[in-house]
Symmetry: C2
């Protein structure tokens, strides 16, 4: 029997909505979450695709998340909007706040969206790609749970703290990156554990502070940051800007709030949007051409643009649907109460 | 004979001013530049201290920089200010623009300062530290010359593209980092060359694309970014945000503008300022305490805060003056025309 199952994107969307609403999620939240799960599976980001339904339902069942939260928007200033997600998932809060963020960035050149009190489990690239689609450059970041040791240490303190960035390229996929400031995403270690694979020794230390190739020992110990002390410094910056700056929790605070139930992190998110046509001194087309020359200089020497693999997968999935491991699909279907 | 010479900070300031004005620099520019050179030497950042006078005078002599440029401030929006440095050094432009940046960040929560058409050779930490001293978080970045290959490539395209960040800590030195997104600062390779030392093999490739431990070969080849594809992506982000976004040159554009004379890069700089008391939902003191708990979590496990070595040096230098290599001092004194 083939180990993989082919699903259309519509089937994937229906399945995701079904699993979420069957577990008590309000329909508007379920739809918003299904969209990012479909996008993740479509782009073959395995740790942000259908697998996340398991994480999501687990968080629903342990009672931490408000299943029908109504996000509240606070228009703080001409450059700043805040959305209180009221302890629901982040997607609806982003949908509400991002429209105002776009308006503000168009009007004053730079603007920030702070989302507070949200449960966040999705990749950040869908959000910065949305903003790039509106002609803006965008930078987004969140803390997570305290799983990562600072450079020079061995004890968990920081989150995996992703940073995502997008630059608009009219008529083309945007320039986009989205990476954990940890050596690897937490979900990738979990996928190794599920697959019975070892992990590289520079990803994590065990609970005694020694490097380990055992994903289960890594998850009980501390992950490392990428890029040594520089990556560690950036990881701390994400803690500060998407935590105390916006009046929300650090990763350690999120872990404490979790009280050991293993829910998705509950914290804040910071998203910045930049309007090139207001920042530049008037020759916006020339500026975009200068950016295109930069991308050409990368590709022409045989290097890749970030997200290129994801965009290739997107084109394949939109034509042919997605391939999902049969066991993973069975695990997801088992989430629907009988 | 002792190879080191002790100078007071006042002597260092006088010497820097003398060298610069003797080479035709306007007095206001010379004073602003002397301040950052003294700060660099005081903090024992060897590549941003008195050594930079050699770089600075070389740039003056090759005629690229406008020695008495009058920066022009353009108040773009409630969140955005631009300063056209008119092809002078960046320090006066920063002094002019940063005061307006602080006002805007206080009023609307987040604000940006774009400096255009400046020659930039100083570290970024004096700038973000100034903003932290005003109670703001700050993020600054610039491109440089195209010396660095993207991950997966071997040809120079990016600059060393520093990113600096500061977080205010009332009554203490701020949390500050300032690092090149290249594996190492260009100045550190040059200092190795001057000292006749080899460099680690992961800093650079030679002109044929092979890893090299020869600093001179590295400077003719291409430097690497830090942190693999993640560092490379950040390096590209700096190109975009401090280049095309603000209507200014990429590092490749700056190299082309230089026409091979070897001057300091001519380009733009982007500085963002964040006002914690407007971003947070009102409990700003709690938020600052949450940040302090994060710093405690770093230090308590034996890891260091970035810039700690620099702050230790600062306290030493303020008490005892600075130690400068006798040969370097002779090279600097030789810059004063007879």
């Amino acid at each position: 029997m083939d180990n993989m199952v082919n699903l259309t994107l519509a089937e994937l969307s229906g399945l995701s909505n079904r699993v979420l609403t069957a577990n008590g999620m309000a329909a508007d939240h379920a739809q918003a979450i299904a969209e990012v799960i479909v996008a993740g599976q479509r782009d073959e980001c395995q740790s942000h695709g259908i697998y996340r339904l398991i994480v999501c339902v687990n968080t629903l069942r342990n009672g931490k998340v408000v299943r029908d939260a109504k996000p509240e928007l606070i228009d703080v200033s001409p450059a700043l909007v805040r959305v209180d997600a009221k302890f629901g998932y982040s997607q609806l809060a982003f949908q509400m706040g991002s429209k105002v963020l776009v308006q503000k960035a168009r009007q004053v050149g730079i603007a920030a969206l702070a989302i507070n009190h949200c449960f966040h489990f999705s990749a950040l690239w869908p959000e910065v790609e949305y903003l790039a689609g509106e002609g803006l450059a965008a930078l987004a970041m969140t803390p997570s749970h305290s799983w990562v040791a600072p450079a020079g240490g061995t004890k968990p303190l920081f989150g995996t703290n992703p940073i995502a960035f997008a630059w608009p390229r009219p008529g083309r996929f945007p320039y986009v990156f989205d990476f954990a400031t940890s050596a690897i995403a937490r979900g990738d270690i979990e996928l190794h554990r599920r697959a019975g694979k070892t992990i590289p020794l520079d990803w994590a230390v065990d609970a005694t502070g020694q490097p380990t190739d055992d994903p289960a020992a890594a998850m009980r110990g501390a992950m490392m940051t990428f890029g040594g002390h520089k990556g560690s410094a950036l990881c701390a910056m994400v803690e500060l800007l998407a935590g105390p700056l916006i009046g929300d929790l650090t990763s350690a605070g999120s872990t404490a709030y979790d009280q050991g139930v293993g829910a998705t992190p509950c914290h804040g998110e910071l998203i910045l949007a930049f309007n090139p046509s207001m920042f530049s001194s008037g020759n916006s087309d020339d500026d975009l051409q200068r950016a295109e020359a930069l991308f050409g200089g990368i590709v022409d020497q045989g290097a890749r643009l970030p997200s290129q693999r994801r965009f290739d997968a997107r084109l394949r999935s939109e034509a042919n649907g997605v391939e999902v491991p049969r066991q993973l699909l069975a695990d997801v279907l088992a989430l629907i109460p009988g």
